[in-house]
Structures are given as C-alpha cells and as structure tokens.
C-alpha cells in the first residue's frame, strides 16, 4: 500500500520499537558515561549511574541537556567517538554566542540520510523521480540532508542549493523535476515567479518537502494550489542530526518521528516533568543509535503535542504536531501555560491582525491577562454593537484555546509599541513587583 523506504522499521509493532529503544538507550548511556567527561560529570552530579538506566522507563532519571550545554562543550566536549572515526561536521546558523557544532561518523550520516529518504518516499518519491534540492548546502543541514536522502531513494538529484531563481526555474522545466525540497518561504516565492513568468504549464512537480521554518496551513494550501503539488512538512534539528527527525506522510496530520532512532518526550518546560501523550509541552529528544554526537534528553524548546493515534499510511511511529511556539515564550497565567502563538492563532482565525500585545498583570494576588489588538478597516464597523460582538467572539475563542478568561481590547492602528520594527509581544508587569 504505502511507499516506504524501510517498511519493517517504519511500520514496526510497538513492542518491536520499544525493544529497539530499550537496547539503544542502555547502550548509548553506557557509551557516553564511559567516553564523554561532560556527560559523566553531569550524570554524577544528578546521582545517576549507567546501571540505573535499564529501559526507557528509566529515561526520566537522566538530566536534561540544553543548547547551553552544547555551547559550553564547544567544540569537542560532547564528541563520543575518537576524531579519526568522524567524517563530517554540520553547524547551526546561530547569530548570537557560540555556534553549535555536530559531528557525524559515516554510519551517522547514513542514518540521517535514511531518515530523509523515508521523508522523500512518504511524499511519493521513487527512483524514477527528479529531486530538486534548493536548501542551502554547506554547514546548514538542509541541503546535505535532503541531497543524501534523495541519493538513497535513487532519485536523479539536482543539487541546486538556494538562490538564483531564474536558474532554479530553468532546471525545473528543462530537467522535469518532480520533487522540490526547500524552505516554505522559498517555495512560495518560486511559485509566484513560476506563475508570473508563465511556466506553470511547463513544470512537472508533484510533491514538495518543505521545512526549516514555521509555516501555516493556509500557506501550504496556497503553495499546493499554485504549483499543483502536494506539500509535505519535514522537521529536524542540527543537534539531533538535521532534517528528517520527523516527516509528514500523505495524511498531512502531524509528522512521524523516526522512533527507531530517536525517543521523544513531552515535558512541562517550567518543571521538567514528563507529560502524557496528547498534552502540550516542550519536545525532548534522546538519540539512541548515533555514534559521534549522541544527545540524551535534549530540550528542543519547541512546543508541540504527540499523537499515537494509528495513521492510515501504515507507519506506526508517533506523530508530532507542527511546533506551536518556543518554550522561551511561555507565560504562566493563573497557573495555566499560555503561548503567544496560541493567542495569535485565535486572532487570525477571527479575522484580526497579528499585530497584538499581551499584557499580564496581577491584581489582588490574582493574575490578569489582557490582549490588545489593532483595529483594521476590515474589522471596523460604525456600530458599537457589532464591535462589542466581535470582541466577545475573540474572548470566547481565547477562552476555548487557553482555558482562562482573557480581556480583549481593540486599539488604534499602529498604537502597539514596536521595537526595531517588531511589535513587543508580551509585557509582564508582574515582574515589577519582584524588583520593587
């Protein structure tokens, strides 16, 4: 039925997956404790010995790892293999502080590329396809990952890298590319150029694999329509391997996490407590078969939900939602976790702009939350009743999304304070009490 790269693993029974995860976890923990001083110190400080980790049920005993650890250990502090066994580095595009560098042995690269191959085949790719990769090549994982995956599937691979749109379109038309891999924003730009230049009838694309950036369902439908393709989401982090940590199937309902390589957990970002499937929280990954750069309980800061509902594609691996926000942005109001992105989603659903500001305050020991949103010509009416009704709809939408009451105040256009052109999203006045 489905188009799989490694059917036996992608459609394995839960028992089989847990068996793989148990063995991989025990082996990885032992290996890093013995070979990586940084891990040994961290585990000793937490009072955990490798013998304490007998199965994935013991995973919660391990300390978390964060991007700060990766920066502290830069460059070689977390490398778990001798240098002579490593063949590649990739790096994040970090703009502040030290970069994060990840190492790969040849088997690590193969595993990563196989993950990307799974994503390409989930998008309907076969060796008869022509796969145009216009993610950047180099230190960025996008280009190398999909390039490798495309080779593994056996597609004719066009290693275009990013930019030079005219050349992209020329190759796409002349070589009859069928699969496009790039960021969603570049896909949207390409779609616009292709339609403008009148090449829409000459392209043969059937699928697109778009990731490395946040994008909306609306943007997906728009790209799909303008290019006449089905668009698939792909997710990954350089720290964990790169794109392909999870990917979408034809269902387009969340991304299957490659659970035979990575254990996923959802935690409460404030307390670190593991949350049950179906709850919103921060995504944490543990790699169980990476050689050079295994990460244990790495906090991604991405907020999402896991679903174990069976998928019609036949894959048994857990699915993660598109990240809804970053844990750094999380607010706790009346004991409830609130993400600005959830509020934004409600506003956009209600036809309001994304120019909003959240003001959290405390009145008589009780938290209050107020959402300011700018008036737009589309929203405005000469009737007070209409505007009050709109306000009420937004309040109801927020209540159903957040579970708490949030006051809504419509303000004049361009009245929300902007800093360097960007609206200041959150003002938490409760902090003032602490300082005073």
């Amino acid at each position: 039925m489905g188009n799989y790269y490694q059917e036996e693993l992608e459609c394995a029974s839960r028992e089989k997956i847990i068996e793989i995860q148990n063995a991989g976890l025990v082996k990885t923990v032992k290996k890093v404790y013995e070979n990586v001083e940084y891990y040994r110190n961290k585990m000793d400080a937490a009072g955990v010995k490798p013998e304490d980790i007998k199965s994935i049920d013991d995973l919660h005993k391990l300390p978390f790892l964060t991007k700060d650890d990766l920066r502290d250990a830069y460059p070689y502090g977390l490398m778990a293999e001798p240098l002579e066994n490593c063949v590649r580095i990739q790096s994040t595009s970090g703009t502040t502080g030290r970069r994060v560098v990840a190492f790969y042995t040849q088997p690590d690269l193969d595993m990563w590329e196989e993950c990307c191959a799974r994503a390409i085949m989930a998008a309907g790719g076969t060796k008869k396809d022509v796969c145009q990769v216009c993610y950047g090549y180099g230190l960025f994982t996008g280009g190398p990952g999909l390039n490798g995956g495309s080779h593994k599937v056996g597609c004719l691979t066009l290693p275009m890298s990013s930019g030079n749109t005219d050349r992209q379109i020329q190759f796409m038309v002349d070589l009859e590319a069928t699969i496009l891999c790039c960021t969603p924003s570049y896909a949207a730009y390409l779609a616009e150029s292709i339609n403008e230049k009148g090449y829409r009838d000459q392209i043969k694309l059937k699928a697109g694999i778009f990731g490395a950036e946040a994008w909306t369902e609306e943007m997906r439908r728009d790209i799909e329509k303008r290019l006449g393709i089905k668009a698939y989401d792909i997710y990954g982090l350089t720290e964990i391997s790169g794109p392909g940590v999870s990917f979408e199937c034809e269902e387009q309902q969340g991304m299957h996490i490659n659970e035979d390589h990575f254990i996923a957990e959802i935690i409460d970002p404030k307390t670190g407590e593991v949350l049950p499937d179906g709850e919103v929280g921060e995504l944490v990954f543990t790699s169980i078969d990476k050689e050079a750069f295994p990460l244990l309980r790495y906090r991604t800061k991405d907020i999402c939900v896991l679903s174990r509902k069976p998928c019609s594609c036949g894959r048994t691996h857990v699915r993660m939602s598109k990240p809804m926000g970053r844990s750094d942005d999380m607010l706790i109001v009346k004991g409830v976790n609130v993400f600005p992105s959830q509020i934004e989603q409600v506003l956009l659903q209600q036809g309001l702009t994304s120019n909003y500001q959240i003001i959290v305050d405390r009145e008589k020991y009780s938290d209050t939350i107020e959402v300011l949103v700018e008036m737009t010509p589309e929203l405005f009416s000469d009737s007070v009743t209409d505007l009050a009704a709109k306000e009420k709809d937004v309040v109801a939408g927020l209540k159903s999304m957040l579970g708490i009451y949030a006051k809504v105040r419509i303000v004049e256009p361009k009245s929300i304070v902007r800093s360097e052109g960007k609206a200041v999203r959150v003002i938490d006045r409760r902090n003032l009490y602490k300082q005073g």
Binding site: M375, S381, D382, S383, V384, L387, A388, E412, K414
Partner: protein, 138 residues
Amino acid sequence: MAIKQLSIFVENKTGSLVKATEVLAEAGVDLRAMSIADTRDFGILRIIVNDTYAAVTALKDNGFVVNMTDVVGCVMEDKPGAAGEMFAALAEAGIAIKYMYGFAGKNEAYAIIRVDDNTLCEKVLLSKGIKLLVPERL
C-alpha cells in the same frame, strides 16, 4: 438622497479626538454634524462633513480607521413633540433605529438616523410629511 456619514475608530484616551479633529481641520474639512458613541475602552466618532472625499483621505493618511455609511437625515420643525412624531412613525412601520443623533438649527431641528433599510425609512418619513435632509442642504 442618503447622506454619507464617516465613522472613525478612537480609543477612549486623552487626545484621540483632538488628533482626529485636527487632521480634519488641516484638510480644510468643515464638520456639519458630530456624535460620539463610546464603550469603556473605545469610541466611535461619527461625523458628517462638507467634503467626504477630503476627510476620508486625510484621516486614512494619518492612520485612522474610517468607514463610510449611508444614513437618513430628517428635518423637523423646532417645536416640542416633533421628535416624538418621527419616532412614532418609524415604530409604526416596524423600523428599528440602530442609533441616532440630533442637532438644532435656526428654525428647524435635524436628526441623523441609522437604520438597516434607508429607502424604506425615507418612504415612511415622507408619507408622514416629515422632510428629508438632502446632502446639498448640509
């Protein structure tokens, strides 16, 4: 026949109205009628002006959200009970008033009425002998 009314969104804070009226004055727009509807947080400034186009352009250029609505204007004798006659006529015809505002002139009084069906409203008023305000008379 209908009169063009401009509605402007303003926040309930000091200075909001000042800025809107200053913008209109700078554009040389003359205010013929004005009313403010307000809630706790925001208000809607409703105006009728001598030059609708100039007013909308100036307000939009200055970042205001403006919308234009057709309203009915009626002319009443400036005497006790005139407004009551008008309300009775509309009530009898089942016409709901969304909002209205009035002002008195030298010998006559005027009312600006916002309803859903302007044509029907005008017909009812005329049938009761109530005169309509035409844009040219503003």
